[in-house]
């Protein structure tokens, strides 16, 4: 599993204040994912549920991900920089991007 993922590959930085891509940390992202409550709707492994879609592996592009977190279009609670910093968001992106692809179980 990747321990860190470079995020911010698009032209738009996370949060709009930083000009350099942020390097997200998978382990920190895991902790933050739990602490700020992402798991409540998306599951502890970001696998998705009726309350929120699967986030990873293969997350949506970072810019879209950022918009969805900061200014969600639908029902998701908005996470402003007051409650989730750009660095923390980068960690979360790294965490969801690093989720393993599943094997198809035999059932």
């Amino acid at each position: 599993m990747l321990s860190c993922v470079v995020v911010g590959l698009s032209a738009r930085p996370i949060g709009g204040e930083l000009n350099q891509p942020l390097q997200g940390d998978v382990d920190r992202g895991n902790q933050t994912f739990t602490r700020v409550g992402c798991y409540q709707c998306h599951g502890r492994e970001a696998q998705g549920a009726s309350t929120g879609p699967r986030l990873g592996p293969g997350p949506i592009p970072l810019a879209s991900f950022t918009r969805a977190v900061r200014t969600p279009r639908a029902d998701m609670p908005p996470y402003t920089v007051k409650v989730l910093s750009d660095a923390e968001l980068a960690d979360i992106y790294a965490f969801v991007a690093a989720r393993p692809r599943p094997r198809m179980p035999q059932w």
Binding site: V36, Y39, Q47, V83
Partner: protein, 619 residues
């Protein structure tokens, strides 16, 4: 002379007809001269039991109470504790919810007894659930109306002028009989009304004086004949118009919620859908369409509704909510899903039973055609009308449409299987893995899943093969928590004579409202497999707290306060074991789940309840 003794000695005719109010002496009773003055061979409650037997109540669920002691004693002695048989419940909410679950499997109500005061207060939430879910429950409440007959102290605290008023806003009918003849007539009427769509809970007050009234040996109560009402069908001309609109439509969608009350309802909906080759969205109030039917488009409901040119709603709880999206942000907003020109039709008994105070009737839906009538009863004539209108040309269009829908249904199933594989080995166990393991364990049995699917992301309906009406009975109706455990026990009681394996996916918070239902299941040998969805939280509320905290830019660090059920964690296996239920867990490793389920199912197949505690992901 004491009033009760007076009545015993003044012949049956008077006993049957005496009113509760009027010329009754409040003088202290004289000392009895002999044993005859202290005992009687027959009482009013015996007659009440005759009535309950005649209307066919199979069980009476009750937590004991002095206000119905006469009836209780008559059931177990005079009635032989058989049809009705007394089911001992440890909470009145459990009594009503058991009856709720039973009726959804069996199609008929069973009885509940409760104090007219403290018992009904306990029961009230479950009555509301049954009312919202359109389910018949037959409730008898004890009371002592005559103030001069009340024992000092508690009996006064347990007496009320108008017992049923507490739940009148959310029950279908009630009465307070003042004679045994009145009781008999109202008992029959109550049953009839409870069973007439829209069905609902009914209440009958059994006054303690009537119950304990001594009767002469020759007293005979006349019990009126029970005739069930044929359910109301939609107006013939309106049904033909519905058929015309459906046949002319290019992308019709049938949405069903509480449409299939019986297996016949499910069969009729299949027939309608197949005749039209129309998309069906099953909202899950009941099992309306087999889950893997090629026309079942429930997994992509929003897509099919937004592309529909005609939407037919059958017994929908919320038509407006079906055709709108709603955004729960700081400023609430909504948007119609319907494309321009789309027509909306409802067939429903919803407006036939609407009341004012409690707002479960939802937002006004602004329909193009509203047909008042029971959907299940109206479907056969609708199918006939549709068949009459279908031409060869339309048949070709329908067949092409059906092929596309079948392909979409297959694709949705494949997507669900793939989605379920994510985090397969995670701990806590995913709700998808939980659902798959339960399915693997039961799919060779004649099974019945009797819990709501919302807490587990609806996985069973996406992955299992539901094709019989009793295999799924929907949720609580009013979303009053505490329904699942007792309703599941009631459903299992109804499934017992059929030898079905009853399964419930039991949310932890729900069980803890009244966990004594586990004892009831053990005591009465009710074969029920409870698989705990133990996410250690009132998770819906946790998400609401998160929404509020984020909205106010305060973070969610404290959202767990008042919403989680941890520190200490509850050991549900021990809880169940303490009440005589076989139990295992807590299971945190998903690999341990399949063998635990096998062991628990072996217990259930021997006729006893079993519980497997699984620590799960939130949803």
């Amino acid at each position: 002379m004491n009033r009760r003794h007076f009545l015993k000695n003044t012949a049956g005719a008077l006993a049957g007809g005496a009113a509760l109010t009027g010329h009754v002496s409040a003088q202290p009773p004289p000392q009895p001269a002999d044993a005859d003055a202290l005992t009687t061979e027959r009482s009013g409650a015996d007659c009440m039991v005759d009535v309950l037997k005649q209307i066919g109540l199979e069980y009476i669920c009750a937590n004991p109470g002095s206000s119905f002691r006469g009836l209780h004693e008559a059931i177990v002695n005079y009635g032989g504790n058989s049809k009705p048989e007394l089911i001992t419940c440890l909470h009145e909410e459990s009594s009503v919810a058991m009856a709720h679950g039973f009726a959804k499997i069996d199609g008929k109500p069973i009885g509940v007894m409760a104090h007219g005061t403290v018992g009904l207060q306990h029961a009230a939430m479950a009555v509301y659930n049954a009312y919202c879910d359109r389910v018949p429950v037959y409730i008898i409440v004890g009371n002592t109306l005559d103030a001069t007959e009340r024992r000092p102290g508690v009996e006064w605290a347990h007496s009320v002028q108008d017992a049923s008023s507490l739940v009148r806003d959310f029950s279908k009918w009630d009465d307070t009989p003042v004679s045994l003849e009145h009781f008999a007539e109202s008992a029959v009427r109550a049953y009839q009304l409870a069973m007439t769509p829209p069905m609902g809970p009914v209440l009958l007050v059994a006054d303690s004086e009537l119950q304990e009234r001594p009767l002469g040996a020759d007293f005979k109560l006349r019990i009126p004949r029970l005739a069930l009402t044929a359910p109301p069908q939609g107006d013939t001309a309106a049904i033909v118009e519905v058929a015309r609109m459906l046949v002319a439509a290019e992308t019709p969608v049938i949405v069903a919620d509480r449409a299939a009350r019986t297996p016949a309802g499910l069969a009729s909906l299949v027939q309608l859908a197949e005749t039209l080759q129309a998309a069906v969205v099953d909202q899950g109030g009941r099992l309306n369409l087999p889950s893997r039917h090629p026309l079942n488009q429930s997994a992509q409901s929003r897509a099919v509704i937004s592309s529909a040119d005609v939407v037919l709603g059958l017994e929908l709880t919320d038509f407006w909510g079906t055709v709108h999206t709603y955004r729960d942000q700081l400023h609430r907003s909504s948007q119609s899903l319907l494309k321009s020109g789309a027509k909306t039709i409802a067939i429903s008994t919803r407006d036939l039973g609407v009341k004012a105070n409690y707002q479960e009737f939802q937002r006004y839906p602004e329909l193009d055609l509203m047909v008042s009538g029971d959907a299940e009863a109206s479907l056969p004539s609708l199918v006939d009308a549709v068949k009459t209108l279908v031409t060869a040309g339309r048949r070709r269009v329908f067949d092409e449409r059906g092929k596309k829908l079948a392909a979409a249904s297959r694709a949705a199933y494949d997507r669900s299987r793939a989605d379920a594989a994510y985090a397969w080995d995670a701990s806590p166990v995913t709700t998808a893995r939980l659902s798959v393991e339960v399915w693997n364990a039961i799919k060779g049995e004649d099974w019945s899943l009797v819990s709501s699917l919302n807490p587990i992301s609806g996985w069973p309906m996406r992955l299992w093969d539901f094709d019989r009406q009793y295999q799924f009975i929907g949720g609580s109706g009013g979303s009053g928590i505490g329904y699942t455990a007792p309703a599941s026990a009631g459903a299992a009681l109804a499934n017992r004579p059929h030898g079905r394996l009853t399964v419930t996916i039991q949310p932890d918070g729900d069980l803890m409202y009244a966990p004594g239902i586990l004892w009831t299941a053990a005591h009465h040998h009710i074969p029920l497999l409870s698989v705990m969805h133990n996410n250690r939280a009132y998770h819906q509320e946790l998400m609401h707290l998160q929404r509020m905290a984020n909205r106010h830019n305060r973070g969610i660090d404290r959202a767990h306060i008042g919403t989680t059920i941890e520190r200490p964690n509850i050991d549900y296996a021990k809880l169940a074991q303490s009440m005589g239920v076989y139990a295992e867990g807590p299971i945190e490793n998903p690999a341990d789940l399949a063998p635990a389920l096998r062991r628990a199912i072996a217990v259930v197949k021997r006729g006893e309840p079993a519980l497997v505690d699984v620590v799960t992901q939130p949803r």
